[in-house]
Amino acid sequence: MTEARRPAGSLEQEVLAALAAAGRPLTPAEVREDLGRDLAYTTVLTALTRLYEKGALTRGRQGRAYAYTVAADSATLTARRMRQLLASDTDRATVLSRFVAELTPAEEQLLEQLLRDHGPPRRGRR
């Protein structure tokens, strides 16, 4: 696990996350639009193809393009394993640091205020 081998959030991760969030098959064009960054179509397509070849995605024809979904089997299995892990007596305090932990009511207000003041409407979601 060297610095070079672990880029800070690769595009493939982002694409996989986008598909998992969508919860329905997306075409490369839809993925590109959802990511909302200045990415070339072929860049997105390459990432999708790589993920497909790794078995992380399944795809089906949708018109002229393929539409991609997260491969469900491995994910369900993973979910069960993760619950087992978190239920075990791992010294979580030392090992895990959650992105966001618990909130106090005062902090909740502060964060809602933050989103009102600084939050443009979310893009690409209903």
Binding site: M1, Q13, G36, A75, S97, E108, G119
Partner: protein, 320 residues
């Protein structure tokens, strides 16, 4: 006994007092290593001083003196340690060593289990990302030789694509910089010296700030990073109302989301050489005092040993 012996005590107390401010003022990528290394040094120095006190007291036992070949009366004269202090030092050092060993054992076991979990997840991740179908919004980094970022689908749905990028960058930063090791070392130091507890909390909070700063730098947008944090925290709070807890327990957990969001909405912290130098000086002073104490004690034992040899020579000399 010497006045220098209080140096680790003062050093640890000062570091404890300064640690919260340090993590606020310095860039977290500077404050976390600095705090962790200084805390470890203060813990070791404190343990060494208590050990020296306890040993010097124990050395006045005649059987131990016979084994070590030193004169008890001379040792008492050159290095007097009052009995209550000697006994107290021995008791405290035993308890704290036990606590630190226990903490170290727990940390090692936790990291071992996390590593085993990472290996089990092999084949279910893409570039170290594992997505778990789950209705509860959650995201964390699982450290190991091949560490994994674990994110639930509910968390991904709560965020926009740009915000998801912040989240992934934050968790990758934890793994890339091995933040779990800093947390573990600071925790062990705090177990060995409770005065260092604020420093350990500051390290725990500091690694979150460090990952936040890394994520904000990757997306080149501090407000976006703050927004991602707020959105994720609120999604989690709404999905799990029992998750809202009293602020006292929260500050013990170390990472206050409100503070993190405020820090991201302000300018990034800049390195401050003077402040860093001050902490380094504190560490150096503690180290020098501790080594000086050890050398002084060694010298006193040498005096007591010389006296013992002399007595022996006199006893063995043939009567004139």
């Amino acid at each position: 006994m010497h006045v220098l012996m209080v140096a680790p005590l003062i050093g640890a107390a000062l570091l404890g007092l300064a640690s919260r401010r340090l993590t606020r003022v310095l860039p977290p990528s500077a404050s976390v290593p600095l705090l962790t290394a200084t805390a470890l040094l203060e813990a070791l120095a404190g343990g060494a001083i208590l050990g020296i006190l306890a040993f010097t007291f124990a050395a006045t036992n005649s059987e131990l003196a016979a084994l070590g070949h030193w004169s008890v009366p001379v040792l008492r004269r050159v290095d007097p340690v009052p009995a209550p202090l000697g006994i107290l030092a021995a008791a405290v050092v035993a308890v704290l060593m036990g606590a630190a060993t226990w903490r170290a054992g727990r940390a090692t076991r936790g990291l071992w289990q996390a590593d085993a979990a990472c290996r089990r997840l092999r084949g279910h991740n893409v570039d170290g990302l594992v997505i778990v179908p789950d209705a509860e919004p959650d995201a964390y980094a699982l450290p190991g030789r091949a560490g994994q970022v674990v994110v639930s689908t509910a968390m991904l749905r709560a965020l926009s694509a740009a915000e998801r990028r912040v989240l992934l960058a934050h968790e990758s930063s934890h793994l890339r910089h091995r933040h779990h090791l800093y947390v573990a070392v600071a925790d062990i130091a705090a177990a060995a010296n409770p005065l260092l507890r604020p420093a350990a909390h500051a390290v725990r909070a500091g690694v979150e700030r460090w990952a936040d700063e890394d994520a904000a730098a990757l997306v080149s947008d501090r407000r976006l990073a703050a927004r991602a944090l707020a959105r994720a925290a609120l999604a989690r709070a709404h999905a799990n109302p029992r998750g809202r807890i009293a602020s006292a327990a929260l500050s013990a957990a170390g990472a206050l989301i409100g503070d993190r969001a405020k820090a991201l909405l302000s300018d990034p912290p800049v390195p401050r050489r003077a402040l860093t130098l001050l902490i380094v000086t504190l560490a150096v002073l503690t180290a020098v005092s501790t080594v000086a104490t050890a050398r002084m004690t060694e010298h006193r034992f040498e005096l007591a040993q010389a006296a013992w040899s002399q007595t022996l020579a006199l006893e063995q000399a043939p009567a004139p």
